[in-house]
Amino acid sequence: MLSVRGLSVRYGRSVRALESVDVEVGGDAVLAVLGGNGAGKSTLLRAVSGTLKLHGGSVTAGEITFDGRRIDRLDPALVVRQGVVAVPEGRQVFARMTVEENLRAGGLGARSASTRASSRERVRQLFPVLAERAGQRAGLLSGGEQQMLAIGRALMSDPKLLLLDEPSLGLAPQMVGRIARIIREIHEQGTAVVLVEQNATMALQVADRAAVLEVGRIALAGSAAELAASDDVQRLYLGGHAESQAQAESEEAEARAHRGRKVLSRWAG
């Protein structure tokens, strides 16, 4: 379905955000992409959805194909027409427009009026709260509601692949659980999902497969269960074994020192 090969990305002349990254997403899976701040997770999604240019970035090597077609040179609006839709970091709902208008904007990229109608029904069922708030300005919704709106809006064009950038950011645990269930449900309805997260606990519960990005490279990849069991992921992202905050921090520092070499020797193909 989505295939990223040898992808390198730069911002401006000097910032190298990704170095030969390979990622494969099948139609039947939720792929989680984990990684710390600045690892390049958002950059990966921007490269796929074609919005790098808006951030002053560009693809310097590699290619991205979706269902066999190159999409790395397409205008973002045309990537949407191919069926790949992203929910950007920080939700970015249209704050001054109503909830209803936000959903309408999402439907502008739909391939036909009939898919738009069926998507609307799907969004209504997944997010009943959005129907209750239809006439309200999106900027006045709570963070969780905004996240639901951002996901609902993206579903309005009936994507084949949904890219989510840190949907759990800034949400209370209960809301994180709710979003996780919704992501699972979206996937069961037949939409493939790439889930970028710092919240590894949540991501590994939702995902079938997972990859870990470390400073611009894929450091680990495998099934979600394998990664959840891996020591590195336990230590760095799940907070396993750590008895106290201090211990967690010192372990993280220690792991950081070893990480690159150790991890890559085990996983790099």
């Binding site: 959805s49 074609g50 919005t51 808006l54 205008d75 973002p76 609006a77 045309l78 949407v80 027409r81 839709v85 992203a86 929910v87 950007p88 920080g90 939700r91 970015q92 709902v93 249209f94 704050a95 001054r96 427009m97 208008e101 309408r104 904007a105 999402g106 502008l108 990229g109 739909a110 300005r137 900027g139 006045l140 919704l141 709570s142 963070g143 905004q146 809006r153 993206a154 064009s157």
Partner: protein
């Protein structure tokens, strides 16, 4: 009292014309974040075609050609700016100044010593009602302005074009991720702005409006759309309309009660006053978002 009523009607008529110009200006700014200093030359392009064609093809046909040409001129300018990929918004604004000078000079040169007026069907035919004398040009401008502005707001609020415009104005990246093609939104913004300028000039280059014929005089009047847009709030469509009306009224009232010479400065004084009190203009953006 009678003078006052006359002034208000005439002022609102002028205000409607300024509102059309300011609205186009704001639409371009919202879609592209570029301040279009070439708005006055779009006005002249439309006016020039009416002037050149009205004798051969009749006024109505010429007016239609003028409006369409002003719209297309907007589109050409848009393509030109799109070609200057590496320029930032300030660079692009400077570019529009250059374009403005070139187009204005060329049209002024072509018109030569003539001072054409192009409002044939209504110019210099005042209406007398109940002892009041009202300029026909301003009254028709008020009606046409009201119709076009209403149509604009309906489209802006309810049509897919309006949703796409507002989405892009608010968040370019999110709009692109919705499958909204930014180049199309931008192109339609320039088309609409050009067409509105093409309508506005039909009333501006008249005896009634100011006595300034097509040429530098009209161009100077078009510049009044800037304070109108700015005092309304550069990114507010409603602000453009209110700003236009405020400017039209200020001009008409100060010309009568203070002096004609002072009326142009009065417009800018009002703008400065508004900006001192509200730096983002009367209706400029204030953040609603919680995030």
């Amino acid at each position: 009292m009678e003078t006052f009523v006359q002034l208000v009607v005439n002022g609102l008529g002028k205000g409607a014309v300024y509102a059309l110009l300011a609205l186009g200006f704001v639409v371009i700014f919202k879609a592209t974040e570029v301040v279009n200093f070439a708005h006055g030359s779009l006005v002249l392009v439309g006016g020039y075609l009416v002037y050149a064609l009205k004798d051969s093809m009749g006024w109505i046909g010429a007016a239609v050609v003028g409006i369409v040409s002003a719209a297309l001129a907007g589109l050409v300018l848009e393509r030109l700016l799109a070609g200057a990929r590496n320029a930032d918004h300030n660079g692009l604004a400077l570019l529009t100044i250059g374009v403005d000078v070139i187009i204005t000079e060329e049209i002024v040169r072509r018109i030569g010593a003539d001072i054409p007026f192009i409002g044939d069907p209504y110019d210099s035919q005042p209406i007398q009602i109940a002892g009041l004398t009202i300029f026909r040009t301003q009254s028709i401008a008020l009606v046409v302005g009201a119709v076009l502005i209403t149509a604009f707001f309906l489209a802006f609020r309810f049509s897919s074009w309006g949703v796409a415009m507002r989405a892009q104005a608010e968040n370019r990246e999110a709009a692109a991720l919705m499958g909204i093609r930014s180049s199309r939104v931008t192109a339609t913004a320039w088309l609409v702005a050009g067409a509105l300028a093409g309508v506005a000039v039909l009333f501006m280059a008249t005896q009634d409006f100011s006595g300034a014929g097509l040429g530098r005089g009209t161009h100077a009047i078009a510049l009044i759309a800037f304070p109108a847009a700015i005092l309304g709030g550069l990114d507010s469509t409603a602000g453009a309309v209110v700003g236009g009306l405020v400017v039209g009224l200020t001009e008409a009232l100060s010309a009568q009660y203070i002096s004609f010479e002072f009326s142009k400065s009065a417009v800018f004084l009002v703008m400065l006053l508004v900006l001192v009190i509200r730096p983002s203009g009367l209706f400029g953006t204030k953040e609603l978002s919680r995030v």
